[in-house]
Amino acid sequence: MKKITYFILYLFIISTPAYAVVEVDITRGNLDPLPIAVSPLYIEPGSKDIKDGDKIIKNIGEKISEVIEVNFKRSGLFNPLKKDSFVQNPDIVHIKPRFEDWRLIKAQALVTGKVSVSDDKIRVEFRLWDVVASKEMIALAFSTTPENWRRVAHIISDKVYQRLTGESGYFDTRIIYVSETGEKTQRFKKLAIMDQDGANVKYLTLGNELVLTPRFSPKNQLVTYLSYFRNLPRVYLLDIETGIQEVVGDFAGMTFAPRFSPDGKKIIMSFAKDGNSDIYTMNIDTREVEKITDHTSIDTSPSYSPDGKYICFNSDRSGLQQIYVMKNDGSNVKRITFGKGLYGTPVWSPRGDLIAFTKVHKGKFYIGVMRADGSGERLLTENYYQEAPSWSPNGRVLIFYRETKSDEDGKGFSAKLWSIDLTGYNERLIETVTDASDPSWSSLLSK
């Protein structure tokens, strides 16, 4: 009896066909930039024109979309599609896009929006659409004073970048640099500040004294830099909002290579005396000074890790200039570079995973990155002369300056700012009015 029951059950089991789910592994895709359409923003009837200095901007909706497009193009991650191919007009698309039209031109994402301008206010709404899935991904509105319209465009770029890549953007940021004019042998150097795309340039010093190595504080309001006052190089602190500047500590010697701690409370710098230089920190509020390294060699270019627990710096204590890492109290010093050539200007990534550096080998200058333990060295770009890398706030792009070779009379010389992303393929010139050097990238202005 039991056997019959089992037999019947067995028949039931084998009689129903059961197919396992077919699995297919997709391990390749294309790495082309994402095709994105940025529709000009619709201007609401009754909106006023915007004054930008002497100019009057009439088509503000188009201008905002252009700034967003330039940001996307420069990032190397997006491919903004040409506006000539757009089928839908801004006045309709901002209400509800006809996705078939956007799929036709191979767009995968779409940015639409509208803008209204009154006397003292600009209101910008934008929406990001997933064209393939026919759904909205993000929708936000911003209100500000009309002269801030470029910042609104940068903030929109950041929001779209974050939504489509999963990491924070870097468009609503500023860059401080040294503006250079005049012949190579007699350069006038002024501190200058601009938006990350090169717009809104402002000069912070007059050019009477030589200025070098400006660095932003994490809170963006303060800048520390090196200036030669009465032929003595000193580290200064400048408040961008008030314009007040002061000497950082009254050292009986030369101070240089300043940089802020991640919390913005301390400045770390080199102090040189009698041919030896060591690393010091100074608390900005209490003016308390602490000696971090104590070695007979030259220790310089210190940079904190984002958690503030470690410091990387370069030193010639091994005979050649190499990069070292130590704890923030100066203990546990460890050399991390062992490759051929000289290593300098180490800068810890805001993500904490990488250290950017300048490498000199056989007369060539390289900008590269490596892990914090010195492994995985990758050289991103090579040139005749380039140095001083500075990270974008999301740790994906580096800005640095590059000088060209000049003849014996100093002709043909130029110094320009360049950016390169971590892949090493997306290298771009950043247009500046004058020659430029020593750039430093601020953190995001709107967090």
Partner: protein, 271 residues
């Protein structure tokens, strides 16, 4: 009483067996049979016939030659537009010295043609062959063999997985993969040190269009620090939507109507 009980038991048993044997067949939908392959039966002789084998080699060579000629003709067709491959990262001077000293040129000028560093074609490779480097080549071949074995193992596992269901042949699977490869735009800002596998389960229509799609590890999207996963999953879903109708076999719908695509970006980003 006993007799009627016994008869009742017998009849009931017969009914149950009959139902069991017939009903499932009635419930089951008609079997989707794969296309019939005609196989010619050949009689095998007791002894190996050498002259026949020689003749066969000749024929095989002839066929091979014909195929080669056909291939060469097809190669003369105008080349399709292909994007330039991105150059490798900047090599160190000592690496360059090892190759040729003249290579040192600017990376930023794409107009300059680098004759020395262009990739050697199959024909040039033969000329570049250096007998002195045989030892090095042997060592390399060992590595390559190991890699091939590894790959084969992987392939066997994967084919096992599918041969169990027998839903897709290897060529059908390859065709499907190739289709999706072209549709999947990888988000370029993905972190390198994370698990970048997204599993998408699909219910397909017989024509290959997607009826339903579902991200299997959906909960991971909302975890802190996993924002990139949402982006990755969206890109995978987008790829499926762009690609549809998927290239599925014309028969055997029941077997492949539920399809799971494992999008793995690790391999591409880590190389």
């Amino acid at each position: 009483m006993k007799k009627s009980l016994f008869l009742s038991f017998i009849f009931h048993s017969i009914m149950i067996i009959f139902t069991a044997l017939t009903l499932p067949f009635m419930m089951r939908s008609p079997i989707d049979l794969p296309p019939i392959l005609s196989v010619e039966l050949i009689q095998i002789t007791d002894k190996t016939s050498i002259p026949f084998a020689a003749k066969a080699t000749e024929i095989l060579e002839k066929i091979k030659k014909e195929e080669e000629e056909k291939r060469l003709v097809s190669q003369q067709a105008p080349p399709s537009e292909k994007k330039k491959e991105k150059p490798d990262r900047i090599p160190m001077p000592e690496d360059l010295d090892k190759k040729k000293k003249e290579i040192v040129k600017k990376k930023q000028n794409p107009k300059e043609t680098k004759e020395q560093i262009r990739q050697a074609s199959e024909f040039e490779k033969k000329e570049l062959f250096d007998p002195n480097q045989v030892a090095a080549l042997i060592d390399k071949s060992k590595e390559e063999t190991a890699e091939t074995i590894k790959k084969n193992e992987k392939l066997t596992q994967s084919s096992d997985k599918n041969s169990f269901t027998n839903a897709l042949t290897l060529s059908q699977e390859d065709a499907l993969k190739a289709q999706i490869f072209g549709c999947w735009s990888l988000p370029l800002g993905l972190p390198y040190q994370e698990n970048l596998l997204v599993r998408i389960k699909l219910r397909l229509k017989p024509d290959g269009t997607v009826l339903r799609s579902e991200v299997l590890d959906h909960a991971r999207m909302n975890l802190p620090g996993q924002a990139f996963y949402k982006v990755l999953a969206e890109s995978a879903l987008r790829a499926v939507r762009i690609c549809q109708p998927l290239r599925v076999p014309p028969t055997g719908y029941e077997k492949w109507k539920d399809l799971q695509l494992n999008f793995d970006a690790n391999e591409m980003l880590k190389g």
